[in-house]
Symmetry: C2
Subunit: 132 residues, 2 copies
DNA sequence: ATCGGTGCAAAGGTTTTGCAGGCGG
DNA sequence: CCGCCTGCAAAACCTTTGCACCGAT
């Protein structure tokens, strides 16, 4: 069993992801923490985001036409992506159907940890810009 | 309005994606068609897959820790990804909840075209290999 | 003949990794 | 003081794109 070390970098990165609702990419997390930690490297950001996502402290979200996003909010919720401008939003008002995970386990013999649902569409602003 | 031309490449690429249940990546489609079309370029495969996905003839699926996959089966269904070995399967026995798209449209003013759900877990084979 | 598609190769964008040194336990 | 973590930079990986030519209409 490997021992996990506490470092300033890890704490700052986690705090950045948990302190925003913007679903930042690794690059964006990097920008967010450079005020506080100017010498941090992008590689370290990637390494820590990967670890945090692997142990489930944060969520990693894979989106068509975008680098992976990270979400510090573990409350079950869905995401909506605008295929025009890339805007990316939470959607909390639909329940996370955990029984679906159990159903699939029963049907397939996979052990299911989670599912991720992303809705793709056009946001209100981009709809307005669809002239004619 | 642009006129879309029929080419041999486009036909072969579409046929490859529609003729398999393996959810190939662009690279895999490229390998699949090289027997029939040895001079095709990977760029052309990408270009055609992008077009086909854009007009909805095939589905593009974004998966954590994998290049994008393509699926020629438009029947509503979900996907399951093994986080150990990358195995990627269809799951047809849960209905696609289209009313969820309409519900989110009503709540958010997005126009929703679709949603993609990916289940993440460990496949039966990888479960067996978890010795001790 | 036109002009969109193609092959090729280079570039762009994202993510990982090898290494030497630093720091947490 | 051990060995995991970091910064740095190079590399790997995935995808797009510029260009000249080809071929569908």
């Amino acid at each position: 069993m490997i021992k996990e070390r506490q470092t300033k970098q890890k704490a700052v990165i986690l705090s950045a992801v948990q302190g925003t609702k913007t679903h930042p990419t690794a690059e964006q997390v990097y920008e967010m923490i450079r005020d506080e930690m100017p010498n941090v490297s992008l590689g370290t950001v990637y390494r820590n985001l990967n670890r945090l996502a692997e142990i489930g402290t944060i969520r990693r979200i894979s989106v068509i036409n975008s680098p992976d996003k990270f979400d510090g909010d573990l409350t079950p919720h869905h995401h909506i992506s605008c295929t025009q401008c890339g805007k990316f939003c939470d959607f909390f008002d639909a329940e996370y159907n955990e029984s679906l995970d159990r159903f699939i386990e029963a049907k397939t013999s996979f052990r299911i940890a989670k599912h991720e649902t992303v809705f793709y569409g056009v946001c209100p602003e981009c709809k307005c810009n669809e002239l004619n």
